[in-house]
């Protein structure tokens, strides 16, 4: 199985040991760096060789991988497997694992972006978690005035766009027109949100202008960073007693929401899915393991291994789990209210060009206007070239 070193992969590895002792089937895990994960899956598919059976895939990249015919359709396997009980998943989450109405994967983790904050700092300063983005900015100012770090942001040239687009969705904007796929980065709300996004960098760590999500998580675990927006799956990393200094001092709340644009402000839904290689010669065996590992019975073991569980209804409503993972309730809500980024194969390319422009803007190479215009242009170009938008 191709995995990316993440809490989800750790959970699967822990379960695979149990699986081996019960069934004698050994599952070999191969770790691949995040930015190579989709590449490896696709290259393997195009080479038509079965180099792996199972893969952990970022749900946002799933459409791209499916377009490359790298994943096998799972609908028949899911339907035939009563124990897996797919009806235990909310419809929104099922849709999340589908592309063009076909299930090419099943949810491995459900990780909405949440607002994370440091309870000790908030108590000392008398702050409350932000309800709106203006609150978040005010909190950042207060934290900085007290000598702490106001906001942990992500501004690097490859991943910043995830965080900007999530802020955009939660402020009533969208990347694309849901009907026509027209890019909307030239809308007033897109610019307002970008200005705010760049503003927040002033309250970040000294190195924030180049911070990747890894740097941001590291800062949040090591330094007095008051708040940040982060996927819920990082819970076990930030609370890892061996490496984190913030253990037990962290709480989560819903993403701040503002109405700066015409759309409904929503939190953003991310997460891993797991799929089976279309070239795999052991598809049934691969499914058997997935079905077993992600079953409702194993959710407890999965959580104990530090992994964010897939948001089954039975999991997010289980009081015992809610106590262990306080964010689970929010994850449950996000599966119905949360919105994933547009599910199109061009997403990784779009993320890259927007991130590059954010990086250029935050480091002063481009002005806000130039950067937004360049980003809109580039996204438009990508969509027109691929025929996804013909305006």
């Amino acid at each position: 199985m191709l995995v990316m070193d993440s809490p989800s992969a750790n959970g699967l590895k822990a379960l695979a040991k149990t699986y081996q002792s019960e069934t004698g089937i050994e599952i070999k895990f191969v770790e691949v760096p995040y930015e190579q994960l989709a590449t490896k899956v696709i290259l393997a598919a195009k080479s038509k060789q079965a180099t792996y059976d199972l893969a952990q895939v970022d749900a946002g990249y799933m459409p791209q991988i499916v377009t490359a015919k790298a994943l096998a359709p799972l609908d028949d396997l899911i339907a035939a497997d009563k124990d897996y009980n797919y009806d235990d998943f909310p419809e929104g989450l099922k849709a999340y694992a589908k592309y063009d109405g076909v299930s090419y994967s099943v949810p491995l983790s459900t990780e909405p972006y949440l607002q994370w904050y440091r309870t000790d700092l908030y108590t000392t300063l008398g702050l409350t978690p932000a309800k709106t983005w203006d609150d978040a900015l005010a909190n950042a100012k207060a934290l900085q005035a007290a000598g702490d770090i106001g906001y942990g942001g992500v501004y690097d040239a490859s991943g910043a766009a995830y965080f900007y687009l999530s802020m955009l969705q939660s402020s009533g904007g969208r990347l694309l027109d849901p009907e026509t796929n027209q890019p909307l980065l030239d809308a007033p709300v897109a610019k307002t949100v970008m200005a705010r996004y760049l503003e927040l960098a002033k309250y970040g760590t000294p190195g924030v202008e180049s911070a990747t999500v890894f740097d941001a998580v590291n800062s949040f675990s090591q330094l007095n960073v008051g708040q940040m927006i982060l996927a819920s799956g990082w819970w076990s990393t930030v609370n890892d007693t061996a490496s984190s200094k913030s253990t037990g001092l962290v709480a989560t709340a819903n993403t701040p929401l503002s109405t700066d644009g015409p759309y409904e402000p929503v939190s953003s839904l991310f997460g891993w899915v797991a799929g089976i290689s279309s070239a795999s010669t052991h598809q049934q065996a691969a499914w058997d393991f997935l079905s077993w590992a992600l079953s409702a019975e194993n959710a407890g073991a999965f959580i104990d291994a530090g992994a964010p569980p897939p948001a089954r209804i039975s999991t997010t409503s289980n009081p015992e789990f809610l106590e262990k993972l306080p964010y689970l309730a929010a994850a449950g809500e996000a599966t119905t209210d949360g919105l994933p980024l547009p599910r199109i194969p061009e997403l990784s390319q779009i993320i890259a060009v927007i991130s590059q422009n954010i990086s250029a803007m935050v480091t002063g190479q481009k002005s806000l206007d130039d950067g937004m215009a360049a980003a809109q242009d580039a996204v438009l170009n990508i969509l027109v070239q691929s025929g996804r938008y013909n305006g």
Binding site: Q64, Q222, A360
Partner: protein, 308 residues
């Protein structure tokens, strides 16, 4: 690893076509002689000629992952990927790296060569130590410098803060370019040095001695005697470095990844991204082919210089 072909250090045109020396061995039949290079030909065809031809083919066909048909599309990939501000920008970045890298490495390399050439006590130790960086694994070297320049944990940031400053090398376009040039120069200034030392060994001390008797000072000696005599070696060295800097990939990939913005995105980097992150094999190939075309005068010069 640097790449060198045997280079004719002289300017004589005839040397470029000179064959092996006349000898008895010539009596062996020429076709039988060719058997010696059959393995070489096989490898060159499989890893060089065929892939290069295939790259040209990919660059004129529709190979996009999402909508690729494999059909012939003429120069469309070039229009969409090469004649764009993005590609031209990356070409400029590549050029900046070449120019800065050559200047830094030549100046420092020359000064070190002068120092080493004096063969003072311990010069062999210095030569051995300086040999190390150029042999190291570029990916690992990139990761190591990435760590040293890390804005939060890096030693270099701490050194800067001793002087009261605070700087994030990866958040400033000029500094990020400087970091890449620094890493490349750290690795390869000693290479320039070794080449120049070898060249200096060929200059007899009498020449210099005569010049100093004539009253020429150090700069005059350097400017009018040593540099002209070293010209062939300098040319070779700088061309080798130029070709290598254009190919630079590993160290950028493991440090700035092309950022901030696109400040350090070279052609190699965007071609890689287009191919393996956007999965447009045709456009990625078009960019790589375009780079080769741009570099062709240099390659041609390189071939002309080889003594074979």
């Amino acid at each position: 690893m640097t790449s060198i072909a045997p280079i004719e250090a002289g300017d004589r045109a005839d040397s470029a076509i000179a064959g092996p020396p006349a000898s008895t061995v010539r009596r062996w039949r020429r076709l039988e002689d060719a058997l010696f290079v059959v393995p070489t030909w096989i490898f060159m065809l499989v890893v060089g000629v065929v892939p290069a031809g295939l790259a040209v083919w990919l660059s004129v066909t529709d190979q996009s992952l999402t909508s690729g048909t494999g059909d012939f599309v003429g120069l469309q990939n070039f229009m969409l990927a090469v004649f764009t501000p993005r590609f031209m920008g990356s070409l400029l970045v590549t050029l900046v790296f070449v120019v800065l890298g050559l200047i830094v490495q030549f100046v420092l390399g020359y000064l070190l060569a002068v120092a080493l050439h004096r063969q003072l006590r311990g010069f062999q130790i210095a030569r051995t130590v300086l040999l190390i960086p150029m042999l190291l694994t570029p990916v690992v070297v990139g990761l190591v410098w990435n760590f040293m320049f890390n804005p939060d944990l890096g030693i270099i940031g701490s050194i800067v803060s001793l002087f009261g400053g605070s700087v994030n090398f990866f958040a400033n376009a000029n500094l990020a370019i400087g970091v890449i040039v620094l890493i490349d120069s750290w690795m390869f200034t000693p290479f320039v040095m070794l080449m120049l030392v070898a060249g200096m060994t060929g200059i007899s001390d009498d020449v210099r001695h005569a010049a100093s008797l004539d009253g020429a000072n150090w700069w005059e000696q350097t400017r009018y005697i040593i540099l002209p005599m070293l010209k062939p070696v300098i040319t070779v060295t700088l061309i080798v470095r130029c070709v290598d800097i254009v190919r630079l990939f590993d160290t950028i990939y493991t440090t700035t990844k092309g950022g901030p913005g696109t400040a350090t995105s070279t052609v190699s980097l965007i071609s890689y991204a287009t191919t393996f992150q956007y999965y447009d094999f045709g456009q990625g190939a078009a960019m790589a082919i375009a780079l080769t075309v741009v570099m062709f005068p240099v390659y041609f010069f390189y071939i002309r210089m080889t003594q074979v």
